[in-house]
Structure formats: structure tokens, C-alpha cells
Subunit: 375 residues, 2 copies
């Protein structure tokens, strides 16, 4: 037993909108300090070490809008045992079941944050691999589900030959019998490598390794063996720590692209996380190099402000964690690229699926056209 | 490549409340059929096999309340590749990012569902282990975080000696230095076994194995080696398939209790899942034997109807999956037990934490009193 703490504390910024008065909101903030740590009637705790160190601590509290309150609450880093799962638990475990609590920011103390590697590549690392230093990147996906591995490989070849920087599996491709994982990954890797050999390009193919618990790592390594350029994973389906595990693995050491499947309810507005806190900071903490999310104006519901929040949180100062690529998709097409360019600048990966295939029957020509418009 | 399907389809019931007219809601249902499968402009898909088999299919559609529509949508089981992660993805992956979509039911075809083992023990199996066949069960937790392993063992002893059926780790106990996992689990197992030897009881201790991706299985097996009676896991933190993996493991073969930490946003009302669909059916599909959730009237926000939905979904006909124990907690105390008894009947595990410790300074006496009231 070591009943001591370093004094290092991490801070979570909560926006409380479930309470009608200042006093009630302050009580809700106090409740977070207890619920997320000891989860026990505080009056029963006589141990001063626990009261002083384990209880969360309100560092600041203020009304930021009418009936909307901000509480910065700090917790001892020792409550986390250096675990991402436990970090998510202390931050939002039980209170996820209470209304009106939104996490808008996360701040980690320097020494503690060094225990998390964060993104291995980030913007700079992915640019280095692609030898693409001063331009936006372009990405597409092989789809739809139901095609054969050979059909996907044909698409992958055309996309690579047309100069896409990144080709990912559709996130709905797992190990269906229409194109079993290993078969698909093998032929798609070969197709992309063949196109690269012809063009002198460096297109990366990222298979989807969102998979059962005990197959994630195996699929990731199989992808690497086949020559894949990275992997795609949906952390809300696998658990965030599965992504972190791979990002941290020095033997694996390929870029990781996160997909937002199943994550939606955490981004509903008045509770859960802000878009920047979850898709920016949390993804960086969990090791994503590229974060896919639905662009504004597409077929999903993210607003321009929410997308801006993501962009900022992908590159803001956040401990030692490098900047990562925002990768907007979901309804991108040729006509909204000009608007995107002024909005996103250079550090972005445009992910165009259907829009690219729709442009004309010549997929390779469509890629070249996109490349020309974007770059 | 095998371009054929069995014809077996699973059905998800969606409640759509984001659309203002019948026509718009019908379009939203059509959109689910595409977004959750091919995620591709349907007009570009010429392959009839895909159109007929891979697209989701609206089996029924009706307005159930003013501006609230019900769509039963079926999908070919082959889209899932027998994977729970992919099941969650097809059901709710991308559309989790769209507003007003609620999953209220899941129906699996018989042959397909046999690929999922579901709960190993369920109500009957847990009752057999405890030799407690015709009464509600009682559970408590060792807490608060910040205590030493020896202090937790002392609590575990008192709780077991007082006749609690189940003692779990607080879900906030992971591997903090105040009580490292292995140290805590060893001494708590020993303490509970010692108490059992004295009383002739069969109290189970369930350590919390919510942990980093690569440590979950190791912690589970360590618990088993020490003589733990089962494990506690929060699937929203680890991924649901981590829980399923352990539940399916014939060598592990201990009861699994699921904890709702971090799951809240999926249960927000108009979108995500109904309480029964997520905490009943999904937990059974993912192998939980016992599902912890916040009781109505406690310090969380579940209503009586939502709790009833959970109870029903823990025991309703659902493929071959056995009934599981609802385990309400979060603000239980001695005074609400009478109301609980008429609400829950026999097949319930009452989880009382703070309320039990608060009753008097004599924890063992409190357990005995609770046991007397409940049984």
C-alpha cells in the first residue's frame, strides 16, 4: 500500500446544463467529484488521505450562459493507474448516466501525460510516408459490401492509379464471406502496390480491422505482412484502448485511422462530449493519426462550428501529443471542394466515397480530377 | 467469393422521431437500408445480388404516434460475418451520427443466433452456484477508491460474513497503487473464502476487470486462479466483444456482471437504444449473466418504465439466450426495498453500496438485516 500521491492532477472541463440554479449546478459539480471517484457517501469517509486526494476537486466554477455552468474539476492522476479505460471511467463513467453533463476539454499534467504515447505519426508522420508536405491529402474507400475481393482489388487499383493518397476499406467490410478479410486485404495490398510501382506513387491502403476482441491484433499484423499502409478502426465498437494498443505497438508501427461508427450518441449536444474533446483530444490520446468524421453540409448532421472544433482540437496544444489529420467525409463531392479548401486549409484529408464514383464511369480519371482540384 | 445468402435475416426495430412527415420518415427508413450496408449511392449499384440481398429491407413501416414512426428493417445475416462488432455496426454504426433514430428491438433468426452463445449462466446458473433458488439475491461493493487492499479485504470479509450473495469491486477500482489489482483480488478472494468457510455460505467475489485491451483476459484469469466467483466488466469502456469473449471462453467459465459506466448517452431517449434493447437484449447477446443499472428513484435518472423495460428484456423470449439477472443499484437503501420487492419479484439482484454502509457502524449486522428484509 502506498498512501501518497504525486500532486499531479488532470482537469476535465464540464458544462452543466441540467440544473436551473447556481446552487443546484454547484451541487451537481460537487456530485461529480464524489460520483466519479469514491462513489460513496462522503460523510462516511473518515480517511483524510482519501478526502484530500481521491475526491475530485472543483478548480473553478462559473455561469457561462443563462443556466449553463462551467466546472473545471481536477482528479489525482493516481486514480487512473495510467489506464485509458480508467481515464474514461473517471472522466465520464457513472455520470454518463446523468443528464446535462458535457465534457468540453481535457488537460493533462506534463509528467503524467508522458505515460501516453499518443499518435505515432500524426500530420507530419503521415506526410513523410506519403512524401506530400504542403498540400491537403485525398482519400477514398473500396465499397460496397457484397462485392468480391477481386472486385475490391480492381477498385483499389484504379483509385491508386488515379493518385489517391489513401484508400481505406469501407468500415462495413469485416470478414464477410463475399470478401473474407485475408483474401481482400491480400489482393487489395497487391493491387495498390502494383499501381504504385507503375505511377511511382505512394498510395496507402488501410484495411478495416474493426473486429472481434481476439482478432483485432491478428488482423492488424496480417495487414502489415501484406504491405498495407495502415489500418482503419472504429474505437466506439472495439473500445478506445484497442486502438491505443495498436498505436503504441512498436512492432506494428503503422498509421491508424479512426472511424466514428457507433460514436454518435456521445456527440448529441448538451451531454457527452464536445466534438473537439472526443474527436480531437480523445482520439489523440488514444493514438489515432487520422480521424474520420462526417463533414458539415453532407448527409450527416455535424455543423460548421462542430467541424471547426474538431480541426482545432486535432492540432491545439495538448501535452506532447502531435497534431493529427482531420478527415471529413460523408457526402463530399466535387462541388463542395472549393468551400472546403478555404475552411480546412492544408492539414486535412478529404475523404470522398460515393461522390468520387459518381463523377464519371472512369474512376481513375475522377481521382485525377479530384487531385487537380484539391492540390 | 461466394455470392449467395442463406435467406436468414435479422430484424432491427427503429423508432424514427427526427422527421416531420410520413414521406420524410419513410425516406429516412430507406436511408438506413443503404447507409448501414452498402453506404454507397444506390443508383450506382448495378449488381442485382447486392441490391436484392445486401441492402437492408423495410419489413414494415407505420406511424405509431404523432410524428413518431416505426420501421422494422431486416438485414442478411451474412452482412455480419458472425461478429458482434459488425452486428453493432450494421445496426447502428453510421446512423448513430444522425438524429432521431432509436433502436427498440432486435430479432435474430434461429440458426444464425446459435452462433452466439449468450449468457453462460443466466438466472438459473447463478442461482445454482449460490444454491439460492427462490429468492432475490443481494449484492454490495467494496469501496471507496483510495483504500488499501487489506482494507478492502476487511470489508469483503464483513460483507460475506453478513451473508451477501455477491460482492463486487467498485467499478472505479482498477490497478491503482493504493490497492493494485493482483494484491486486492488475492486478499479479497481469501477473505471471502474464509468467511464462507465459517458461515457455510457461498458468497461470490467479483473483481473489476475493466482494464486495458491487453490486460482484460489476464486479469480475468488471475481472478479465477485466486478463487473469484466471477468478474465485473464495463462493456462501454472495453468494447462489448471483450465481455463476449470472456463469456464464451470455456476455460474461464465464470459468471459475468456488466457495469453501465460510460454507456449513458446511448440511453438518452429519442435516439440510441431503449433501455431494454441495450441493457437487456444486447447484454444477453454479449454474454452478461447479470446487468447492473441505476434503479429508479435513486441518484440517477432511469424511470420506473425504463427499469421495467430492462427487467422484461432480461427475461423475454430472445432466441436461445437464457434469462439474466437485472441488478438495480445506485441509491438503493433500506427504505425502498419494500417497493422494490413488489416491482422486481424474485429474479433480481439488489445492489446496495452506500445505503448498506450507512445503516449502522456494524457492516455485518447491516448485511444480515438486508438479507432478512429481502428474503
Amino acid at each position: 500500500m502506498t498512501k501518497s500521491v504525486s500532486g499531479e492532477r488532470f482537469t476535465v472541463t464540464y458544462i452543466l446544463s441540467g440544473e436551473k440554479t447556481d446552487a443546484l449546478a454547484a451541487a451537481a459539480a460537487e456530485d461529480i467529484c464524489i460520483e466519479q471517484t469514491v462513489e460513496f457517501p462522503p460523510e462516511l469517509i473518515k480517511d483524510n488521505f482519501i478526502r484530500e486526494n481521491i475526491f475530485g476537486r472543483i478548480e473553478s466554477f462559473s455561469e457561462i450562459e443563462d443556466k449553463k455552468f462551467r466546472a473545471d474539476i481536477s482528479f489525482a492522476v493516481e486514480t487512473l493507474a495510467s489506464e485509458l479505460t480508467q481515464f474514461m471511467n473517471v472522466m465520464f463513467g457513472n455520470i454518463s448516466l446523468k443528464p446535462g453533463i458535457l465534457i468540453s476539454d481535457i488537460t493533462l499534467p506534463p509528467q503524467f501525460s508522458m505515460q501516453f504515447k499518443g499518435p505515432r505519426f500524426g500530420v507530419e508522420g503521415v506526410r513523410n510516408i506519403l512524401d506530400a508536405h504542403n498540400r491537403p491529402l485525398i482519400a477514398s474507400a473500396v465499397k460496397p459490401m457484397g462485392m468480391s475481393a477481386a472486385e475490391f482489388a480492381d477498385l483499389a487499383y484504379k483509385l491508386a492509379y488515379g493518385g489517391m493518397d489513401i484508400i481505406k476499406d469501407d468500415h462495413g467490410l469485416s470478414n464477410q464471406k463475399f470478401s473474407p478479410y485475408k483474401e481482400r486485404v491480400k489482393v487489395c495490398c497487391d493491387a495498390v502496390n502494383e499501381a504504385n510501382a507503375k505511377t511511382g506513387g505512394k498510395t496507402l491502403y488501410l484495411p478495416n480491422i474493426t473486429a472481434p476482441f481476439n482478432e483485432i491484433v491478428e488482423r492488424a499484423y496480417f495487414a502489415k505482412e501484406c504491405g498495407a499502409g495502415g489500418v482503419l478502426i472504429a474505437p466506439a465498437l472495439t473500445g478506445f484502448d484497442a486502438m491505443k494498443y495498436l498505436a503504441d505497438d512498436n512492432n506494428f508501427a503503422l498509421p491508424v485511422m479512426s472511424h466514428p461508427a457507433f460514436i454518435g450518441p456521445y456527440l448529441s449536444g448538451g451531454f457527452g462530449f464536445t466534438h473537439g474533446a472526443l474527436l480531437g483530444k480523445m482520439m489523440r490520446l488514444a493514438g489515432a493519426d487520422i480521424v474520420v468524421y462526417p463533414n458539415f453540409g453532407g448527409r450527416f448532421s455535424f455543423s460548421k462550428d462542430e467541424c471547426r472544433d474538431i480541426i482545432n482540437s486535432c492540432k491545439c496544444g495538448f501535452s506532447h501529443f502531435t497534431s493529427i489529420f482531420p478527415c471529413p467525409g460523408g457526402g463530399m463531392n466535387f462541388s463542395n471542394i472549393p468551400e472546403m479548401k478555404s475552411f480546412y486549409g492544408n492539414d486535412v484529408i478529404y475523404l470522398m466515397g460515393g461522390g468520387l464514383f459518381k463523377r464519371s464511369d472512369d474512376l481513375t480519371a475522377n481521382c485525377r480530377e479530384l487531385r487537380e482540384i484539391v492540390i
